[in-house]
Symmetry: none
């Protein structure tokens, strides 16, 4: 196995373990065991456990950004609706979902560096959504006085609420309709005319 492959494998194993057991329980010995290699080998590919966790976090956010970037639509508001339904659709998906590992990172003890990096990535995600809202202003669909950063955060709040409901097993709130309704209320309130 080449270095690149091995590195990729370690990252995947790490994300998997974080999703299943949380950050704290994702120890170097467990990562090594799951990857079928020695602990020492981990350190030939990563400088520290934290770096493995950060790489796993990157993998999680790759999925997050795919959800934000993938939906297409006639205009920016349609794309925001598309993000909402795409997100709702993959919440429990093993291949594309990210809720478990993402919230394990959120709930992780404030270890050195991890939280800052998490915040940095999430800020980019919120900014991406804010950019779509700004596009909406250009299209004349969103009122010009709208605070796009505020609205982006509110939209993210909707996704999070669905995620948290899913994690808690509050199934009646996870079917998408609730989230869609909340989303529409926000979009209505920012619509022009």
């Amino acid at each position: 196995m080449t270095a690149a492959e091995r590195k990729q494998q370690i990252v995947e194993v790490t994300m998997d373990l974080v999703a299943r057991n949380g950050v704290q329980a994702t120890t170097t010995s467990r990562i090594a065991a799951q990857a079928g290699i020695s602990e020492a080998t981990l350190y030939r590919h990563f400088a520290s456990r934290t770096e493995m966790l950060l790489a796993a976090m990157d993998l999680v956010y790759e999925r997050v950004f795919r959800v934000i970037r993938t939906p297409e639509g006639n205009n920016s508001l349609d794309r925001l609706r598309g993000i909402g339904s795409y997100h709702a659709g993959i919440i429990g998906d093993d291949a594309e979902g990210f809720v478990y590992p993402l919230f394990e990172f959120v709930a992780a003890p404030p270890e050195a560096g991890l939280r800052e990096q998490l915040a940095a990535r999430q800020r980019i995600a919120i900014d991406s959504i804010a950019a779509i809202i700004e596009e909406g202003k250009g299209e004349g669909l969103v009122r010009p006085d709208v605070d796009s950063g505020q609205i982006a955060w509110e939209l993210v709040a909707v996704y999070w609420a669905q995620d948290v409901s899913y994690l808690m097993g509050l199934t009646e709130y996870t079917n998408g309709a609730r989230g869609q309704q909340m989303l529409e209320r926000i979009l209505t309130s920012i619509s022009a005319a």
Copy 2:
């Protein structure tokens, strides 16, 4: 100090440490030190560290529910605002905050059996808020066609968004203004006339 008093003291110390540093960092040695007793004594009152943590969690949730159930205000909408600002106020509070333990429960591995307990409590919390909204209908402040369950979940979504932002270290979203704005948008949309 009687056994009951000592036990109570340990629980309070544990809750305090969890709120301040998270579950992981709440070690038996720290609990003992903070309580001014030996580690061995902890085990005369609790069978394990986990039991100390669970007792602390119960105390935490008692507080959460007290906040929801003992709202103040001239009317139901004021009380909802009161819950919102109280929540925002204690998010990062050492003495009263409960975000850490709440989300460590949220992210707890599924097999731990904690999820069910958490979901049950959270349903009660949402229902309590829905009841306040129903009261609002009686007072003529909330439109009768409003789905109070939906709105209750949306309000909780605001709290969660603040919590998650806090845990992620997104400090610019934790100051309360953002949450207040989101809350007001929801309350406006359900207000009668």
Copy 3:
């Protein structure tokens, strides 16, 4: 065994291991094994391995200071001669000697804190000897213009030369006569009249 006894035992074991194997090889696992306890127990008595090593260093310097303080004599110059012959007499002594552990500390890699503490202790030793020379000035036996710090260091150089010769196995230089001769040359050069 009480805490104090155990601590004392750990220090002795540590000094012994340093003398026999050097600082680097004096690992926590070896200290624990030699003391017949677990590694964890070491840390109930010392905060770190460095503290164990420092305590062992203290034990070494207790012996050094005993050599400096013990000799009696009619005057200060006599006492300096006494120190020289006392030191020569115990160089290879198991119970009173300190050459092996002392030079293991000298040769140790510049670990955090160790070197500074070693320097501090040795400075005190040199100063103690300088004080005796100053007494000699008071007695009118030593010329007033003599730099007592310089001479103290030169006297220590004699002891070190004997120590190093001993460690190297240069037995023809360890018998005391060489050192005594070197000592006398220095004392002569500082004598009044």
Copy 4:
């Protein structure tokens, strides 16, 4: 690069690292990095890290003897002074210093068998210096009754004292002036007329 060249390069890199950081910190990974080759390549040229260290030590001692045997000066006393100042000058020198390895040898555990080799070399060094003193007698600069072996040992004691002071971190004794003064006292005491 031929095998011989590569080997030579590794030895030089090793010596350099030892002089700068001590034996312990001279790890195979550092040697490889400094030489710009892989760790595996080290083992194509040396059977073990110990062999690399021994080869580096040989290089170090070659230098030491060159310093003693190739003195400059108008006469023997000048040459002795030259040796002293040269020694003082390179004590903490990264490129030429040899104090670390020398004293790690001095403090090596008796059973390692290194002591004998070291003692043999050191005797040669002392004898070389004694020979210079004998020359001084021939030149009429040194009193004929002087015990040249004794004086040689005393001169070496000066070097050792500087070395030990350096290793201990007694910086106030390492600047050369102290050693020079001690050296002059000895030379004065043996000077003819």
